[in-house]
Symmetry: C2
């Protein structure tokens, strides 16, 4: 009985599009019980208009309406095979590599398994099942954990020995020292972002400069904490260039409206835009933050995902230190995650933020907020230490590790190029290069008739396109409106993550759909 | 260099007590870098008076000043053995069983290790290392995860197959059905509590009825979300009885001040108070919430921790359903965690909330907030499914599992009784029974001279006592002021978690300290 929605829930589901920009919507058929759907909200002690309106205002398109619809189609495919013109749903909406078949790195998982069940380390059979360096690393990690207790709450910032390993990894990456006491281990990068927003935002008079397009965690977090998102537009015509003149203009504009701008968010490599910032550009950004007294929030979770030879990842901390700037010149937070890179361990919820340039008393406050949630999960903590300190040349696992890593990254690069070329081959579509990250963000120059057809069903044109694409091909992409875009332009975000074997079929389905769509709506 | 604090940081550390109630403080020597400590806060773009004042206001005593001091003593013991009149610090401040040597349940860890590294399942050696039912359970769990991908983000509420298992476990526990779509898997119980506070609190005009004494997660979360904590006092003289007349009085009092009371928090078994509610009392509470249109937030994380024969855990959902009340009568959220019980897997950050009695549109909002953080960690999700569905009679692991479980719970019961008797044996100390949970909350009837001595160093009397106890014995307890208490009464919270072998020594140290303390301050 619990799997059947009432008539009211069904009606809620049937409405195919909502007003533009699309509101967030969820799969009622799977997430709400029949009773809940049947309840009269007004009669409930918690009616929709009595909840925190910041929650109501928050949007998160990556798991929004289009995904709800895709899940419904998937259920239909299961219950009625052949009911749609495709056999499977291809989720290109979210950077979730292992959900599309990417295999985890063997060494990392060996270490995790051993740390989860340390009695294995005393058994002779274990040597037949695990590499010698994974066994050694597990011992080393257990030695770093008080009592070897992987089931205990850790220090609120994370296990000290693991923070040491991460600091070593950062120092090796940057060529500048890192302090383990600056590391806060978090359940993925998102809780760190929330913590910083919570710290910085006092009211809607506090603004955070965010790129547009942006990963909607930022807009969601700013909304939840009641602040103002101050947009700065990336320049699509220069490969999603980040221009200081635009930052300056938006900053001044916000200030003239009485907004105290507290922070600048930079996502590098870009999400959803895939660009990798040049070193000179990063220096300008650091200078801008220093001069304008802004906290630089650097989302660096795609630091391992670079696909072009002429670009290289540089952390903002490395850039700042190379300019001679220290803690005292600039508050800077770098976010890293185990969910991205070549490892793609999204489900493990590991990550950290490196917090520099705050006074001791403000750091106390960050520590206190971390303490309220006790600590991040220990498996995620261990994994964060592993991705920042993977096997090295000479280690038993090194060759197989390196083969797995290189295999994944080179395949991602090929997939990025193939999809980029495919989008650029479509009529009235232009697509910047994915220099890094996991996404393409092609621009759709839609015919007027298509825009009118979207308007008629109260959808944003890119949401209309994405919905049509899904219904015709099973491919799930996220409309650009979920990330923000220059008004009047339309985009979709498409991950480069489907299995490489499937890319040719995806491309041909995409082409066939697009040709038919353009034919249908040609002006 | 990074391990040395500047003079300024040292001075911050040296101040032994702050004003009463004690403010939150953190271990600067380990968490703040020298540079941060040396920075002039006023010169920083993020001065203390420019951060979100809700963050500043929030307190969390369980990891507060006393723990900071204990960590410092521990470092001193390491660097200068023999520098204190004890050899080790005994952390009785936090419910963290595995940090004090409790061993994890073998079956649970076997399953986790196999799910972390599924290729083990194909190897013959694995059968020598893992029990057959752990192998079978791992297969079952992997089959429930799309693509068997334990490294992928799951559905925002958690993996459906694991929610099915949890719903089955709840139904078996309660004798009433549970709906997997009502389950939201979370990283421990805390994020679920935050999510509900975020949903319900719009401003300081929204109130949450909380027990006093309470687990300070509640006061911290209410402060962070800008609401008002409406206290109701548990009656110490009736074993921390929860009286409806007190609820009613405080509710009316709050309403008369213009507060909209939205919710009632009940912690059962109690933290820090250890009482287990009687069924009749629970019925009154349900009736009260229904009549007053309050959301019942039921913290049921200690549901497996019952130490007395005449008490039994009943979930509030079971009580409500047994009264004939359905979803439509009462919004009710039950929080559960893998951190407590006989499993004590704090570091795994697993848990769930069962959300019933909300309208479909409000549930959408809860789902949306869950989606912004993508999902809880998969190991924690797996563990939550295991604790709600442990091995059953006839399974290969059942006997050893049951021996481990019974061993832990019966030892906890003995430790609770021994410590309770010890506290009651101290001059001018009274201690209610720990019927459940992991804590004792003895009342200290302190001599006037001790109260004056505390006042002289600007400390709360119970903080003064706890600090003296720590300095003399190495035992860390949390002052009652961190949990709230009837004004003018003084308590400490002491966990029952130190290893059983150590209990006699703890008791004799405690006695000796207390006698000397009373002697010193006798009126």
């Amino acid at each position: 009985m619990r799997r059947f929605a009432t008539e009211r829930a069904k009606r809620l589901l049937v409405g195919s599009f909502r007003s533009s920009p699309p509101l967030f919507s969820v799969p009622l058929c799977s997430s709400a019980s029949a009773t809940a759907a049947a309840m009269d909200s007004a009669a409930s002690p918690v009616a929709l208009d009595t909840i925190n309106q910041k929650v109501l205002k928050c949007e998160y398109a990556v798991r929004g309406e289009i995904v709800t619809h895709a899940q419904r189609l998937q259920q239909e495919l299961q219950s009625k095979p052949g009911s749609h013109p495709f056999e499977e749903i291809l989720y290109c909406n979210i950077g979730n590599p292992q959900s599309l078949g990417q295999q985890p790195i063997t060494f990392f998982r060996e270490v995790l398994a051993l740390c989860d069940h340390p009695p294995l380390l005393d058994k002779s059979e274990t040597h037949a099942l695990f590499s010698a360096d994974a066994i050694a690393r597990a011992w080393q990690i257990l030695d770093a954990i008080p009592g070897g207790a992987t089931g205990a709450y850790s220090h609120s910032q994370g296990i000290k020995g693991l923070r040491d390993a991460i600091a070593d990894g950062i120092a090796a990456r940057d060529g500048f020292p890192a302090n383990p006491d600056d590391i806060f281990l978090t359940d993925g990068a998102s809780p760190g972002v929330h913590m910083m927003m919570q710290l910085l935002i006092r009211s809607e008079k506090d603004g955070i400069l965010c790129p547009i397009p942006q990963y909607p965690l930022y807009s969601a977090s700013i909304a939840l904490h009641g602040g103002s998102l101050v947009p700065y537009y990336l320049n699509e015509s220069t490969g999603w260039g980040l221009e200081i003149s635009e930052l300056q203009k938006q900053l001044e504009d916000a200030r003239s409206k009485g907004i105290t701008v507290r922070s600048l968010v930079v996502i590098n490599p870009g999400n959803p835009t895939g660009q990798v910032l040049a070193e000179e550009n990063q220096k300008e950004i650091v200078e801008f933050c220093k001069n304008e007294r802004l906290v630089l929030l650097a989302d660096e979770v795609y630091q391992e995902n670079i696909y072009v030879d002429d670009k290289k990842f540089n952390s903002f901390k490395k850039i700042a230190r190379s300019m001679g700037y220290s803690d005292e010149d600039l508050p800077l937070v770098s976010f890293q995650s185990v969910s991205k890179g070549y490892y793609g361990e999204c489900g493990k919820r590991g990550g950290y933020m490196e917090v520099t340039g705050f006074s001791a008393e403000v750091r106390e406050q960050i520590y206190k907020v971390a303490s309220v949630n006790l600590c991040s999960n220990i498996s995620g903590q261990i994994l964060a230490s592993l991705v920042m300190n993977p096997p090295k040349v000479g280690d038993e696992s090194y060759e197989s590790f390196d083969a797995e890593k290189t295999g994944i990254l080179s395949s991602l690069a090929r997939r990025a190029k193939a999809l980029e070329d495919a989008f650029n081959g479509l009529e009235e579509v232009t697509c910047n290069k994915a220099e890094g990250a996991m996404y393409l963000f092609p621009r759709l120059h839609l015919p007027k008739k298509a825009i009118e057809a979207a308007k008629a069903v109260k959808a944003a044109p890119d949401a209309f396109y994405a919905r049509r694409l899904l219904d015709a091909t099973g491919i799930v992409v996220v409309p650009g409106s979920g990330f923000g875009q220059v008004p009047g332009t339309w985009h979709v975000r498409c991950t480069i993550l489907p299995h490489e074997d499937k890319i040719p079929a995806i491309i041909s389905r995409l082409k066939a759909f697009h040709e038919a769509f353009m034919e249908e709506f040609r002006d």
